[in-house]
């Protein structure tokens, strides 16, 4: 199933976004070897600050298994600002009815190889169909998508061959990248759905969307561990902070200062003495 997270609802989905950025780090940083910035195991770039729309695929347990990011081509986007190599120095396409899709990926470590709903093939087709449907329902007629040759082959095999390309294939990390054109027509969407056997609505219901949000307390069996209270949480963070300050100190003075601060906090009863 698919959820769309954009600038309007992203404050409610930090868990899903973090999982998505972690997936992108594994795929683009490690597997494809692109030159991307990874901080705390998450791949986030300047375009993530522009309130793009993320189309995200989830498994039945509600974990992220695929994702793609969309931006308008009328404003700043990757082909205009970062991927100009691919365009051979030419200016990018710009149109009200053309979106750019980037960072398309699926979790090949979690998904299996078969034809089930938990396969790489199904997740890929579901994400492609969903992103085309989301664009089409927004009045968009075409998508220019930055992909690698493997993804290009997947598109062709899934009865979703691009109708054209712009620029040319350029080396990028361990693989290369290219910009392909896809139309957001019912014809293409139906072909992808038929290929993977996808039926019915693939987007989450309002109820499911709420259950997936950060503010929803999970129902199901009660957790065995005692719930962490806000106070315990603060205590733990403070302890971690003290340990970090002491271990990360570059000079003797810094280490002494960190130890003095820790003793102060211990005396005040705000952290346990084991770190003092």
């Amino acid at each position: 199933m698919i959820i769309v997270i954009d600038g309007l609802n992203r404050h409610r989905y930090n868990r899903l976004l973090d999982e998505m950025f972690a997936l992108r780090a594994r795929v683009f940083g490690q597997r494809l070897g692109w030159d991307v910035d990874i901080i705390d195991g998450k791949e986030i770039d300047q375009f993530d600050a522009l309130d793009p729309a993320y189309v995200i695929g989830l498994n039945d347990a509600g974990n992220v298994v695929s994702c793609v990011r969309a931006l308008q081509t009328t404003g700043p986007h990757m082909l205009s600002d970062v991927f100009h190599d691919i365009l051979d120095g030419e200016p990018p396409l710009r149109s009200a009815t053309l979106w750019e899709s980037t960072r398309f990926c699926v979790d090949t470590e979690v998904l299996d190889r078969g034809n089930s709903r938990n396969s790489v093939g199904y997740a890929t087709c579901e994400l492609m169909a969903a992103s085309l449907e989301y664009a089409k329902n927004s009045g968009i007629s075409d998508i220019v998508t930055v992909i690698d040759p493997v993804m290009n082959r997947v598109l062709k095999r899934s009865d979703c061959a691009p109708y054209g390309y712009v620029g040319s294939t350029k080396p990028m990390g361990k693989v290369s990248a290219m910009a392909a054109l896809l139309d957001c027509t019912d014809e293409r969407i139906n072909k992808i759905r038929a290929f993977a056997g996808i039926e019915g609505n693939i987007f989450v219901s309002a109820q499911r969307a709420y259950e997936l949000s950060d503010d929803h307390a999970p129902t199901g069996p009660a957790p065995t561990a005692a719930p962490v209270t806000a106070e315990e949480n603060v205590r733990q963070l403070l302890e971690e902070y003290c340990v970090d300050q002491i271990t990360d100190a570059d000079t003797v003075e810094d280490a002494d200062a960190a130890k003095r601060l820790t003793r102060l906090l211990v005396d005040a009863g705000m952290v346990d003495s084991k770190h003092g």
Partner: protein, 233 residues
């Protein structure tokens, strides 16, 4: 009546209001409104074809500072259906007031993002049932997207600094296609000549029109010739 091509008209003038009227007529809508923020000129433009009393009340009550149709839609890349905003208390306040003036809460806002951090918000309304609205929307959204960007680009480029920055940068492919169109070739002919699909020609033409601020291909050809980007044949 089709939508007015703003680039055909002298600017500025009362044309923006007529543009809104023509969009409403073409797409079976009651009212339309545009608000644009230009960080380079440091200006906010707004014009609407709502009834005058509602415009006055909207501004006097300062609704523009808390209208979720403006504040939230600018954070979306897709048109925001106001149905999505019905849970916001400010939305309820504003639309209770709007209904006094015959303005329905059935509407949507198309966000436009320009290259220099400029943002335009193009809103339309139509008093009808949810079902009718859904059908109308799927029919007109593509046209509204194009109208919104056309309107926004023309407003932004009315500022001279932006006009200089925005000198149309067409790719070799876009110019090649416009040159063949200027020579009288059809879209299909051009695809055959260049060995690319018809739709690739189409997507480049749409991009070329957008960059040249034109709504139609003949207008784009005319402008490209005027700018010396292609040759008359």
């Amino acid at each position: 009546m089709s939508v007015i091509d703003l680039s055909n008209l002298p600017f500025p003038g009362n044309n923006l209001r007529s543009f809104l009227d023509s969009v409403c007529e073409e797409h079976e809508l009651d009212f339309a409104a545009y608000a644009g923020m230009d960080p380079i000129a440091q200006t906010i433009h707004g014009f609407v074809n709502y009834p005058d009393e509602w415009q006055t009340r909207y501004v006097s009550e300062g609704f523009q500072h808390r209208d979720p149709a403006l504040l939230l839609a600018s954070r979306s890349i897709a048109p925001v259906d106001w149905q999505r905003l019905r849970g916001e208390s400010t939305f309820q306040d504003i639309f209770r007031a709007a209904s006094d003036h015959g303005i329905s809460e059935q509407g949507l806002t198309v966000p436009v993002r320009g290259p220099y951090g400029d943002v335009g918000l193009f809103s339309v309304t139509r008093n009808c049932s949810d079902r009718e609205w859904g059908l109308l929307k799927s029919k007109i959204l593509g046209g509204l997207q194009t109208a919104a960007v056309h309107l926004h680009d023309n407003v932004i480029q009315s500022h001279s600094l932006n006009r200089k920055l925005n000198h149309p940068s067409l790719s070799a492919r876009e110019l090649e296609i416009l040159q063949w169109i200027a020579a009288g070739k059809s879209q299909q002919d051009v695809g055959d000549i260049l060995s690319i699909s018809n739709r690739t020609v189409e997507v480049h033409l749409r991009s070329g029109r957008s960059k040249l601020g034109a709504l139609t291909t003949p207008q784009a050809v005319g402008r490209a010739i005027g700018l010396g980007l292609i040759h008359p044949s």
